[in-house]
């Protein structure tokens, strides 16, 4: 068996937060990510799905080594990213790249497109000016921009074009893994499919792997090979995309999918499962299975007291729910 590009082992991140006012000694612990284990094979796309506060953004930041885990490990190509130093860290920085949600926030307004796109190479590799220019031209061309646009500033571009610049700067070092944090949700509807197709083309061309964080289920169905559903910091279900859409096992996944709105007039649609209440605060999660107060298939007694363990219910399909244990 080959080494996966990415492996998460019991990854956990807690945040210490003050809950009262400035002079309050009350402290709280937010369990943003709790005991998440996952793998991603080369050339595959994994989607992290969940609602606000589910920990998917914190998880993405740990993958990028922007945030150290409280416990657990992130392994890229079998190497624990927390231990990287010097040249291995530089290698990691060219191997893993990111594209963020808002193309107005992710490009420095004071830098020219050339400098934005070239940054990873400038920082990590010694290249001649000519070589650098060639690589920038190549990156811009492969995202559908013209090389001469490198002299412009970001404000001279539209949202979709700016996201292309961000993508060019991510692919210039030919990364093996890209973390895409809501990469299309800030864009106009007619631009989204352009960008999603671009990601697919890049994957075909460069063979890189994606971790995509998204709340739009249509986007994840189109982009991902596997989907990991998170709720209040925990992984509740992981499975191949088609399996999760066709036969969701965890009640939360079920509810999430039925809340998605298909492009069909309502007359020929099944009634959706409506969840009651809202996502509880991650600072004070419910006992047992964190989903039990909103669950439509709750088992009395058990769900409110025991935390369900993740278990395999099929090849590459894992779920953490008492319905499937014992």
């Amino acid at each position: 068996m080959t080494q996966p590009i990415l492996e998460l082992r019991n990854l956990t991140r807690h945040f210490d937060v003050g809950t009262g006012g400035m002079f309050s000694a009350r402290r709280g612990l937010v369990r943003a990510v709790e005991d998440v284990s996952l793998t991603l094979e080369h050339g595959q796309t994994l989607a992290l799905v969940g609602e606000s506060g589910c920990g998917k953004t914190t998880l993405a930041r740990m993958l990028l080594r922007l945030l150290p885990p409280t416990s657990g490990q992130v392994l890229v190509d079998g190497q624990d990213v927390a231990t990287l130093l010097g040249s291995t860290l530089r290698a990691f920085r060219t191997k893993v790249q990111a594209v963020f949600q808002d193309p107005w926030a992710s490009l420095s307004p004071r830098m020219k497109v050339f400098d934005i796109v070239a940054e990873t190479l400038v920082v990590n590799e010694r290249l001649t000016k000519g070589e650098l220019t060639r690589r920038v031209d190549e990156a811009l061309t492969s995202v559908g921009l013209r090389p001469e646009q490198a002299r412009l500033y970001p404000h001279e571009f539209s949202g979709g074009q700016r996201q292309r610049i961000a993508i060019a700067s991510a692919i210039i070092a030919r990364p093996k893994l890209m973390i895409l944090d809501e990469p299309v949700s800030a864009l106009d509807v007619s631009i989204r499919s352009q960008i999603m197709n671009l990601f697919k083309d890049i994957q075909t061309e460069y063979g890189c792997s994606y971790v995509i964080v998204a709340h739009d289920l249509g986007t994840t169905r189109y982009m991902a090979d596997r989907i990991a559903v998170m709720y209040l910091g925990r992984l509740v279900e992981v499975a191949p995309t088609d399996e999760i859409f066709d036969l969701p096992r965890h009640p939360y996944t079920e509810a999430l999918l039925s809340a998605a709105l298909p492009l069909r007039p309502r007359k020929d649609r099944a009634e959706a499962i409506q969840l009651s209440g809202e996502v509880p605060s991650p600072m004070n999660p419910p006992s047992g299975c964190a989903f039990h107060p909103r669950c439509h298939r709750v088992i009395d007694g058990r769900c409110s007291s025991d935390i369900p363990v993740s278990q395999s219910i099929g090849p590459a399909h894992r779920v953490a729910c008492h319905l499937y244990s014992g």
Partner: protein
């Protein structure tokens, strides 16, 4: 469908709205007409620069000052033309006859007053309840929008509530005047999907109970399919297609509508490759004489680029389905 005997509650006729920057004028709503019946939900679909939000602001007459103004057109609300009313008269129309729900619940509520205060204030302004019963009415409204534990929430401040809860309160405030029309401008964009579904369900329930008309502005075709009876599709300030949701989704007749429907990924089936509309949405000052979509349209020819297409019956054959495209009959 049999023709409805009632006149429409809201009837917008040939509305033109412009933004004026010194000597420079940009028309953001270009000759837009539509109507909404009592108890009906109309979706206005478009992307940035389509003029959908400007249309809403024009109806409420809260265009950005001092640059925005209605150039011409009529906005009939229950038999009265709102265009030309004084600001005082509009103030009584807003809130009492038209309710508004905006995209961001965080900025729609005043952070320094309790939710109860703001609701009571809205009720008082609308003079729909006696002062003794104001609080009772306010709590009833909170219960109406499914705010759990309404008596306690009455005393809460906006920052103590989640986004979904706040958007419910905004909904309650917009209901305070028992409005004839509610204009909702992307009210669920900031909400999570499960909360969004709850909210759409709430709007439906309210409409069933009160018979209010809803104008729902969105870029999300999934929401339109779920919630709306009819829709208009806007592009670069113009309506390019209008009809019932079933007709437009089953027989999209404008290339933009078709492209939009094909470019959105489906949740209920896997596609190998999405259709991508070429180019960028136009900025408003680069729109020419002809069809606004022509620069991005695969079927466009010289006629499309130079002459504005007429409003023709759509492909479904229904009497209330229209599209503005020269190639309507040519494209299979």
């Amino acid at each position: 469908m049999t023709p409805t005997p009632d006149p429409p509650v809201l009837n917008v006729v040939n509305l033109r709205t412009e933004l004026v920057f010194g000597a420079h004028r940009v028309e953001v709503v270009r000759d837009v007409s539509f109507s909404v019946m009592r108890g009906e939900t109309l979706g206005i679909v478009g992307e940035s620069g389509s003029g959908k939000s400007m249309t809403a602001l024009s109806i409420m007459q809260v265009l950005p000052r001092p640059i925005g103004r209605i150039h011409s057109g009529e906005i009939w609300l229950d038999g009265r033309n709102l265009v030309g009313l004084s600001e005082d008269q509009m103030t009584t129309v807003r809130g009492r006859e038209i309710g508004m729900i905006l995209q961001d619940p965080h900025t729609s509520l005043n952070p320094v007053y309790t939710v109860g205060n703001q609701l009571v204030e809205a009720l008082r302004l609308n003079r729909t309840a006696e002062s003794r019963t104001l609080k009772k009415r306010a709590i009833a409204l909170l219960k109406r929008v499914n705010v759990a534990d309404a008596e306690r929430r009455f005393h809460a401040y906006p920052h103590q509530m989640s986004g979904g809860m706040k958007q419910r309160v905004v909904g309650a405030i917009s209901l305070a005047g028992a409005p004839k029309v509610i204009i909702a401008d992307e009210p669920t964009t900031a909400l999570d999907v499960t909360i969004q579904l709850q909210y759409l369900q709430l709007l439906e329930d309210i409409q069933r109970d009160t018979g209010t008309a809803i104008v729902f502005i969105t870029h999300d075709l999934g929401i339109v399919a779920r919630l709306c009876h009819r829709l208009v599709v806007m592009y670069a300030g113009r309506i390019v297609e209008e009809g019932t949701v079933a007709d437009v989704f089953d027989a999209p007749s404008h290339p933009y509508t078709t492209a939009l429907l094909n470019s959105v990924p489906h949740v209920d089936r896997k596609v190998d490759r999405l259709y991508a509309i070429a180019g960028q949405p136009p900025t408003l000052n680069e729109i020419g004489e002809g069809c606004s979509f022509a620069p991005r349209c695969p079927h466009a020819d010289d006629l499309c680029r130079t002459t504005r297409p007429p409003r023709d019956p759509g492909k479904s054959g229904s009497t209330d389905h229209f599209a503005s495209c020269w190639k309507l009959r040519d494209i299979a």
